[in-house]
């Protein structure tokens, strides 16, 4: 489905453009088409939520955008970078320069403390943000030397967000960032992501099956059965505190 609901008044620069993206998963003789010709554009500085039921292809979409998976057919451009043409080394470079990731299960380095996890990302970036400031921003400066195993899920996720932000990425991708958290912690996490989006004018894409999160987004992309069902623009996105979770 094309992006026919896009706001015509939007004059922002397009940062991401997908054209006829197809992704097949092949297991023996069985071919499962996860993405069925997706067309999509995302602008710089947008807060985007991709919403859909399990198996709709939203996480696959996110993985491809993030350069940790490749497409079978079609095109994907990040700014002027043809992501679909990149080899493994090119994808690594792409992830390193432009992408920040937040995972559902945090994926922190178990042997590094909170501050070390964040600093690790800083060392991968040419223009990193200050790890201590970020740790303070996520409210965990007091736990800088804690290891992931010693922290709650919410705290781990906040470290994971700080780690992702520390790279100062142009595009922050979040896969079910609140999926493993309680409501209150989830709201705090959303606030952090929004704050990053607003303060640094960076693009954030969140994949979730939680429809309430869509209320805080600039743009909501509904996924169903491997394709975009509809795209909705929120003229006035809500503040997370205003949402009735």
């Amino acid at each position: 489905m094309s992006e026919n609901n896009m706001d015509s008044k939007n004059t922002k620069r397009t940062i991401l453009r997908a054209e006829g993206m197809i992704k097949d998963f092949v297991t023996g003789d069985i071919v499962l088409r996860a993405l069925k010709g997706v067309n999509l554009t995302i602008d710089e500085g947008e807060f985007v939520v991709i919403l859909g039921p399990s198996g709709s292809g939203k996480s696959t979409m996110l993985n491809i955008i993030g350069g940790i998976d490749t497409i079978t057919e079609g095109k994907l451009f990040y700014d002027i970078v043809p992501v679909h043409e990149l080899d493994k080394a090119g994808l690594t470079d792409y992830r390193r320069k432009y992408i920040g990731f937040v995972f559902q299960f945090y994926n922190l380095m178990p042997n590094l403390s909170a501050i070390e996890n964040i600093s690790l990302a800083a060392e991968l970036s040419e223009n990193p943000l200050n790890p201590n400031e970020l740790l303070e921003a996520v409210g965990l400066l007091a736990r800088a030397d804690y290891y992931p195993a010693k922290m709650s899920g919410g705290q781990q996720q906040r470290v994971a967000i700080a780690r992702a932000l520390c790279k100062n990425p142009d595009l922050l991708l979040c896969d079910e960032p609140t999926g493993a958290l309680d409501i209150k912690t989830g709201v705090e996490i959303l606030k952090l992501l929004l704050d990053f989006n607003r303060r640094y004018k960076k693009t954030v894409i969140i994949v979730t099956h939680n429809a309430d999160i869509a209320l805080v987004a600039d743009k909501v992309i509904y996924f169903r059965d491997g394709n975009i069902e509809k795209i909705q623009i929120n003229e006035k996105p809500m503040n997370p505190d205003e949402v009735n979770w």
Partner: protein, 784 residues
């Protein structure tokens, strides 16, 4: 638990290289055990059966000559039940187109023999006086076959004899001249069989016996008859006697069995220990990985035993596979070793048997080994608390800070590697041990072979430095020796030496040994210990080997009694000082100077052997001249002696080479398995780093930095392992008559280092290749 079992099977498949490695190593230990056990059981059974079947006498005595009619007089000695006498003597075989001096030690055969029976192939009842049966090996060396005719020289006369087949004698499983080198040289010496009448005619000694077999009465031992025999046989030129269990025939079998028994215990134990270590690590990591899953199962109400049972089944399976896989190759190898030995020892029987109890034992050992390893590995299952297991394992090591000087010198990747090592000391230690063990095994196991070969090379290069040892028919004086040497063209150096069969009595015990009299300034024979110290023969006492000193319970400075028909002219033993006890490799040597003979025994210097060093290219001329002399028994070629030694050591060398090769393979498998387990358990960690944009080269740098530190730690840890393993092996191969020091030489260390380095490097390359092929999307689906 079927589903959980399925999960475990899938985990095994993910770790298949490690599991196959564990099976392979346990199978190697089993292979050595089965092969060596069945080889030794067959050797012992068939060897001893041959000695029993041929009625090897309880005591064997040797005299210069005794009328056969006097033999029955020995039965008056209390404890002597029956006696048997045989004429034996040396004749010279004259080969066609060769000047070589070949000695046949001929035994007289009679169908009426009652002890020390001779086996003839084909079987003959009556042997004609012009027939001869040759030892199998000399017949093989010269291509002599049944029906051929051979020329022999006996008592200065030539005879033509018809070769009627092959002869075996149980007393001569390992036929060597009295003071020959360490192994038979069938190109110069072997046994032969003739009819009694035929040999009496050749030696011109009718109704004379030289070798006596004695059957003891029930309840009597050799010590009961020893003095009686000595006193009664002294008038016939008594050369000494030996009980059956100390005879060359018996010892060559029993010594070999004894020498390998410890190896059977030690080598498989090393392999089993490695298996336990590997399985322990694999299972421990598997349980760590499945911690949450096990916690969940426990939360559902599964018992510890139900969970552990699934893992223990793996142990049983590994044990069974480890025992089954090597059976066929091990039995084949055992049979090969057995036949080779039977051939070498001239035992006519060649029946190889597979021992079911060996196979049963290895099944029990392997299954128990694997079960112990698995139990140790999965013991942590018992400690898993369902609630706690839902959280990640807290990292070990606490808050580790790198020293500032180090931190300043390391880049990000190296710091990551350093902190990973410091915070996971156990993981690093396990990898270090995985490198240390193969390093020690690769250093030490091939070392015994090198040491054994080196010992032989030293014997023929540093101790016995002559080209030829000419054994004379009778003693000659130094002046006569000098005349002979001067007369023969092509000799660059010649020396006279003597050896006397003497009875050496220490504090409690006695031994019959060869006392060697050497010129003090000898250039062709040196007394050397295994630390390369050289000793000059003494005028005031004797130098003896530590093997002999141990047997006699004596030390340097003690006095021993020497008794010898030739040396003790008064008939009384002579007391002499032991001036030094030397730590030599093998044998039971005793040494004295030529002058010492005169000082201590009042015997004029004389010798029975000429040591000859030839001028370059003059060997044939010298040998040809010697072959013309009448007073020559045989000539030992030192070059052939080394070959003979190597042939004698063939079985041992083959077996140890085989063990050394497999220990290297086991080491490589272990290094790969343990390193790959260490990296695989951090797949998510490295996957996340890749997702964050870390390049392959940077991931490689982390892993290589970590493994370099682990490798260096492993090699350092390997040094005490080498010392420990060396001591164990040294203890295992030390026998009453042989002590081979196992020096871990620099080339061996370099070899072991190279093997471990290569294995580590290849392992890292394979692991990185595997790591870079992971699907990042799959990694991110897994929870840490």
């Amino acid at each position: 638990m079927r589903q959980y079992f399925k999960n475990v099977i899938r985990t095994i498949l993910q770790n298949k290289i490690s599991y196959l490695g564990a099976v392979f190593i346990i199978a190697l230990g089993s292979l050595v055990y089965i092969a060596m056990s069945d080889f030794l059981k067959n050797l012992d059974r068939e060897g001893m059966k041959y000695l029993d079947d041929s009625r090897l006498s309880d005591v064997m005595a040797s005299v210069e000559g005794m009328p056969s009619s006097d033999l029955s007089r020995l039965e008056s000695i209390e404890g002597v039940e029956n006696t048997f006498g045989r004429l034996e003597g040396n004749i010279r075989l004259i080969p066609e187109d060769s000047d070589k001096i070949i000695t046949l030690h001929v035994l007289a055969y009679s169908p009426d023999d009652t002890m020390n029976l001779i086996t003839l192939e084909p079987v003959y009842d009556e042997v004609n006086s012009d027939e001869i049966f040759l030892g199998k090996n000399i017949a093989d060396v010269y291509g002599i076959q049944k029906g051929d005719t051979v020329n022999v020289l006996a008592n200065g006369r030539n005879y033509e004899l018809k070769v009627s087949g092959i002869g075996y004698a149980s007393e001569y499983l390992n036929p060597m001249p009295d003071d020959a080198l360490y192994s038979p040289d069938y190109s110069i010496y072997d046994i032969a069989i003739m009819s009694r009448e035929g040999l009496e005619k050749l030696l011109n000694r009718e109704n004379i016996v030289t070798n006596i077999g004695i059957e003891l009465s029930r309840g009597y031992s050799y010590s009961d008859v020893y003095y009686g025999l000595e006193s009664m046989l002294s008038q016939y030129g008594y050369n000494g006697s030996t009980p059956r269990k100390e005879s060359d025939a018996y010892l060559c079998i029993s010594d070999e069995v004894e020498a390998y028994e410890m190896i059977i215990a030690v080598i498989p134990t090393i392999f089993m220990a490695v298996t336990v270590f590997m399985l322990y690590i694999i299972l421990k990591k598997m349980v760590d990985k499945d911690r949450q899953l096990i916690g969940t199962l426990k939360a559902f109400g599964t018992t510890d035993m139900e969970i552990m049972k699934v893992y223990m089944l793996q142990g049983v399976l590994i044990g069974i596979l480890g025992a089954i896989l090597p059976i066929l190759p091990a039995e084949y190898f055992a049979q090969y070793l057995f036949l080779d030995d039977m051939n070498y020892y001239n035992v006519p029987s060649r029946l190889f048997t597979i021992y079911p109890d060996t196979i049963f034992k290895i099944f029990v050992i392997d299954i128990l080994t694997a079960l112990i390893a698995v139990f140790l590995g999965v013991y942590d299952v018992l400690k898993i608390n369902p609630a706690e297991s839902m959280r990640s394992n807290p990292p070990q090591g606490g808050n580790v800070k790198l020293p500032p000087w180090l931190e300043a010198r390391l880049n990000t990747r190296q710091k990551l590697a350093a902190t990973a090592i410091l915070r996971n000391k156990l993981r690093s230690a396990v990898i270090a041990v995985a490198i240390a063990l193969p390093f020690a095994m690769t250093c030490v196991l091939p070392a015994y072979n090198f040491a054994s070969k080196k010992s032989a090379e030293n014997q023929f290069g540093k101790v016995e430095k002559y080209d030829y040892k000419v054994k004379l028919g009778s003693n000659i004086t130094p002046d006569s020796a000098e005349q002979i040497i001067r007369k023969i063209e092509g000799i660059s150096k010649g020396e006279l030496m003597a050896s006397y069969q003497v009875k050496l009595t220490g504090t409690y015990k006695y031994e019959y040994v060869s006392l060697m009299a050497i010129d003090k300034e000898s250039e062709l024979y040196s007394i050397m210990d295994h630390y390369y110290n050289f000793f000059e023969p003494r005028d005031d006492g004797i130098i003896i080997s530590h093997h002999l000193a141990d047997r006699l319970h004596i030390k340097a400075g003690d006095t021993v009694e020497i008794d010898s028909a030739y040396l003790c002219r008064t008939g009384e033993p002579v007391k002499v000082y032991v001036t030094e006890v030397i730590e030599d490799d093998s044998g039971m040597g005793a040494y004295i100077s030529m002058e010492g003979l005169q000082n201590l025994f009042s015997v004029s210097p004389s010798g029975d052997s000429l040591l000859i060093k030839c001028e370059r290219g003059m060997d044939d001329t010298v040998l040809s001249e010697f072959s013309k002399l009448k007073n020559i028994s045989y000539i030992v070629d030192a070059n052939n002696a080394l070959d003979g030694y190597n042939e004698m050591m063939g079985t041992t060398v083959l077996m140890l080479d085989f063990i050394a090769v497999f220990s290297v393979i086991a080491g490589i498998i272990m290094i790969y398995s343990i390193i790959s387990i260490g990296v695989r358990e951090r797949k998510n960690e490295f996957g996340t780093l890749m997702v964050l944009g870390m390049k392959r080269s940077e991931i490689s740098e982390i892993i290589i930095s970590e493994q370099t530190v682990n490798f260096i730690s492993g090699i350092i840890l390997g040094i005490p392992f080498v010392i420990m393993l060396k001591k164990i092996l040294q203890f295992a191969v030390d026998t009453d008559t042989e002590t081979i020091l196992i020096p871990i030489t620099a080339p061996l260390r370099i070899f072991a280092f190279a093997i471990c380095f290569g294995a580590t490097a290849v392992s890292i390359i394979l692991i990185l290749k595997d790591l870079f092929n992971i699907e990042l999307t799959d990694v991110l689906k897994e929870r840490e």
